[in-house]
Structures are given as structure tokens and as C-alpha cells.
């Protein structure tokens, strides 16, 4: 179980970054770290002790494969993460050009 706990700690580290950091790039990093931890978590769930990678080769005698479904899910999630990151970064560079800073506190033009 220790791997799951460490994985969750990684998730909480990312969450901590998103909630407390005031720099746009740091917030993006925090989100990426949360993403990483969830990818790892899903693959951990699908792992089977002494399993082999889910690719059929000739001459295998009744192999035990690790669960391919979480792997497919993570593959999808990685691309989704890439897409959200790209959007965030586009937003970040646009905000930087408008305000000349990455600090969220200095670009507060909206009222609560």
C-alpha cells in the first residue's frame, strides 16, 4: 500500500502548489504534478505481480498480462493533459504580454 500513499502524497503536493502559489507558471507546474500522480495511480491499480506488458508475441505460453484498460485510460489522459497544458500556457504568455508579470496578485483587475 505504501506506493499508493506516496502517489497520493504527490497528488497533495500538486494540490498544495495550485492552492498556495501565486505565480502562473508555478500553478501550471502544480497542475502537471497532480496529473502525473493520477496517471501513476491508474497504472498502479492495473499492475499485476509478475505480469508482462500487454503485447502478444509468438511462443508465449498462457501469459499473465497486466491490465491494459488503465493503460489505455492513461494514454487518453496524457493527451488531455497536454491539451489543457497548452491552453494554460497560451493563456500565461498572453497574460504576461499584457501585464509584464507572472504574479497573480499584480494582475488582479477583477473584483471578487
Amino acid at each position: 500500500m505504501i506506493v499508493y500513499l506516496l502517489c497520493f502524497i504527490l497528488f497533495l503536493t500538486g494540490l498544495y502548489g495550485v492552492l498556495t502559489k501565486r505565480n502562473i507558471i508555478k500553478i501550471v507546474i502544480g497542475l502537471s504534478i497532480m496529473e502525473f500522480s493520477i496517471f501513476l495511480f491508474l497504472v498502479l491499480v492495473g499492475y499485476i505481480e509478475n505480469g508482462i506488458a500487454p503485447i502478444i508475441k509468438e511462443g508465449q505460453q498462457s501469459p499473465v498480462f497486466v491490465d491494459p484498460l488503465p493503460q489505455a485510460m492513461v494514454l487518453t489522459a496524457i493527451v488531455i493533459g497536454l491539451a489543457t497544458n497548452a491552453m494554460l500556457l497560451a493563456m500565461a504568455i498572453k497574460i504576461y504580454r499584457k501585464h509584464k508579470t507572472f504574479d497573480v496578485r499584480k494582475i488582479n483587475s477583477l473584483k471578487g
Binding site: V18, L42, K94, I107, L110
Partner: protein, 509 residues
Amino acid sequence: MANLVPLYIILPLGAAFLIPLIGRLWGIFSKTITSLVLLLLTGLCIAWLFAGDHEAIVYAVGGWKPVNNIPIGIHLVLDGFSAFMLIVINLITFLSAFYAITYMRKYTAENNFYALVCLMVAGMNGVVLTGDLFNLYVFLEIASIASYALVAFGVEKPELEASFKYQVLGGMASLIILLGVGLLYWTTGTLNIADIAQLLLSYSGNRIIIFIQLLFITGFGLKAAIVPFHAWLPDAHSSAPSPISSMLSGILIKAVGVYVLIRLLFNMFALSYEVALAITTLGVLSMVIGGILAIGQRDYKRLLAYSSISQVGYIVLGVGTGMLVLANNGANEIAALAILGGLFHLINHAVFKGLLFMTAGAVEHATGIRDLNMLGGLARKMPVTSATSFSGSMAISGIPPFSGFFSKLIIIIAAVQAQYYFVAFIAAVISIVTLAYFLKFQKRIFSSEEKTTIDYVREVPLFMQVPMVILALFCVFLSLLIIPDIRDIVLMPAVDVIVNAKNLINPGL
């Protein structure tokens, strides 16, 4: 109809993929195809509802049949509740897209706008139709990413900042939801919602289920902007272009937030008293805090955005009351009444909030001002906008015979019948508060003395008036939904699906 279910995803996606290709050669293509697709989809769904046969349709994508009674492919499920949501989504989006034809002329890159609208609709339709948890996450992300881009469409400082805030909180919500999906997969080994529901009936590990429910409530609560997760909504909904505001407030927060919460909590998890209590509390909190914060707003669209939080609170309250009654093994009729009120308010809110954001857009289009203190006396110059806005304001504050009155009344009656007198009292009080700030708002903008700064104002073009008038008429005619015959066709199938959750068909059987 059974074979046509995937059209709800294929048609908007196809339109979105074609727009960047054909749109750059032929300017009018993007506008026409968006409207046509949405009109077609609305018509299709209304036809299904009125055909009378409310058997749920299960469509296996890819044709994968269950193996050993375990569903293996992805299933699309069209039942009364999803059909109801599909009508609301496609109808409001159609009217918004129609309204946008004139409104969006002042922006650059209009093709991207229509492509993103199509993608957002495809995402919402996918969320509503899917019967698979991971697929739900994928389509949720399509709708969310499209909405992030649409909020920032004006690329000015406030838009960008609002969109960034929205994106960070939305991204966090998505990741929390994904964690919940992963934990459920770990617990049950499957992703099909009906299959999970079957397995959870006989599952003993109570703490993990509560933890997953907590994650889902946080995640979808963030998407639905229920207090205390509402921080992004006022910024995002007030910064977006008006047709988008009316879509975001009218349907997006409901399709990806409230709808999914209801579907998962009723149809997938076994109902528990603690969760029902939490949902009701969140509903009351949203209702009260959203309403109180709305009073002090000076910005036209921010006021509407805060009132969205408050009105979504009503929906959640109605559904939560029903959940409490069911969890306490109370009478099914009371639960059904409460949920009926919630869903009725959902469709009403989609209509009048869509309308109010459109009128806000019309006022901004004509005057360029959003500050309530600087507006005034527009009634004579913009009669159509003024009249439609009046209709919307009366509906939202619950004045008979407008539709909002009946849905609020049903929610309050249900709460009284379930003996939650305090909740019913708060709902009634907040209704009065709503009336107060909408009267103020209506008076400030339309009937107070004219301001010299806005002499040049003219009524908005016909293309913007038409959707506003249609929605204003809906504000009145939706009251007809309480007539039993019509109610049985439109609302009751949805309520049935929610209340009799155990009857949810399992594609594996």
C-alpha cells in the same frame, strides 16, 4: 431512433471539423451549419419524447456485446432524463448561436467561435448520453476546454484573467473527478455506470465509497459552481461574450455539474443520508450566499452571474430534498415532487437566464455600458429588449403566471410536505430577495430617467430580437408544464429515471 443516438455527437463534431476547412473559403458556412445542426438535434429529441414510448435506448458503440453479463464496450444511454437534458442543451444553444450571428460580428475569427460552440455542444451531449465513467470524463473535458477558450474570446485583460482562473479551478475539478474514477475502477474493476451500480449494491467497504462520493461532490460541485466552489463563476460568466454567457449559465453548469451529480448519486451510488444532507446543505448555501452577493453588484452581468449561483441552489435544493426523503425511506411521491420541482426549475432557469444574458448582451451591444449606475431609461428606446427583460426578471423572481413561480412553488411545497419547514422558509425568503434585486435592476436600466450619455441608443437588430422574444414567450408558456398531460410527457420520464433508480437498465443483462 435507436440508430440515431450517436448523431448527437457525430453531427456537432462533424460541423466543428468542417468549419475550419470550409469556413475560410465561404464565410456564411459556419453560421448556417451550426444553427442547422442544433435545430435538427432539438427536433429529433422532441420527436422522441412525444412519440410516447419512453423505453430507454441503450446503444453499444462499436457493437460490443457484453461478455458473461459484464459490459465491455461503451454504451450510450438515452432515457427520459438524458432526453430532457438534450432538449434543453440543444434548444438554448441553438437560440444562442442564432443570437450570435449578429452579436459576434464585431469580433475577429468568427469561425473559431462557431467551431468551439459546436465542440462544446458535442461535449455536453456526450456527457449527458454516456453510460461510461471514463467516457464521461473525456467529454466533460471537451466541453470544459471549449468553454475556457470561449470565455477568453475577447482576449482582453479581464477575459484572460477570468478564463485563467476558470481553467485552473476547472482543471483541478477534472483531476479530482479522474481520481474518483480511478478509485472506483480500483474498487469494482469496471467503468460502466449500470454495472458499478449493481456491484455497489452488495459492496461492504463503506469508507471508500464515502471518499469517492466526496471526490465527486467536490469535482462536479466545482464544475457546477455550487457554494463554496463558486469562486470562478462570476468572473467567467460576466467576462464571456453574451451568447456564451447565456450558454454557460443556462446549460453548461447544469449539464456537466448538476446533471452528472444527480445521475451518479441517484443511479450509481446507493443513497445515504449523510450525502443527501450534504447536497441539501450545499443547495441552501448556494441559494442564500448567491442571492445575498447578487444584491450588491453594480455590473449588469455580474449580478446575473451571482443570481445563477442562487438559482442553481434552488435546483440542488429540490433534488437534495428528494434525496433526503428517499434516503429516509419516506414517501416516493414527496421525493418525486421535490425532484420534479428541481428539474422544472432547471429548464426554467436555462430559459430565463439564457434570456437575461441575451438582454444584457443587447444592452451592451447598444450602449457599450454594463454599469447599472450609468444606465437608465432604456425602455422607450429599446422596447423589445425592455419587454423581454421584464418577462425574464419576473420569471426568475417567481411572479405568477411566469414559469419560475411554479417551479419554486413546487420545491417549497415538497419541502413542506417532507417537513423541512426551515428549508422551505429560506427558499421563500430568498425568492423575495431575488424579486427585490431584479426589480431594482429592471428599474435602474429601463424605467428610471434617461441619462444624457446614452442618447444615440437604438434597438438591436432583428436577428438578436428573435431569440429573445422566443425565450420570453417560453418564460410564460413553460408554466404549461404543470398541466398533468404535458408534465407526463416532458418531466415525468426524467423524474421516473431518478426516483426509481433501481430500475436502471443494465446493458449487461
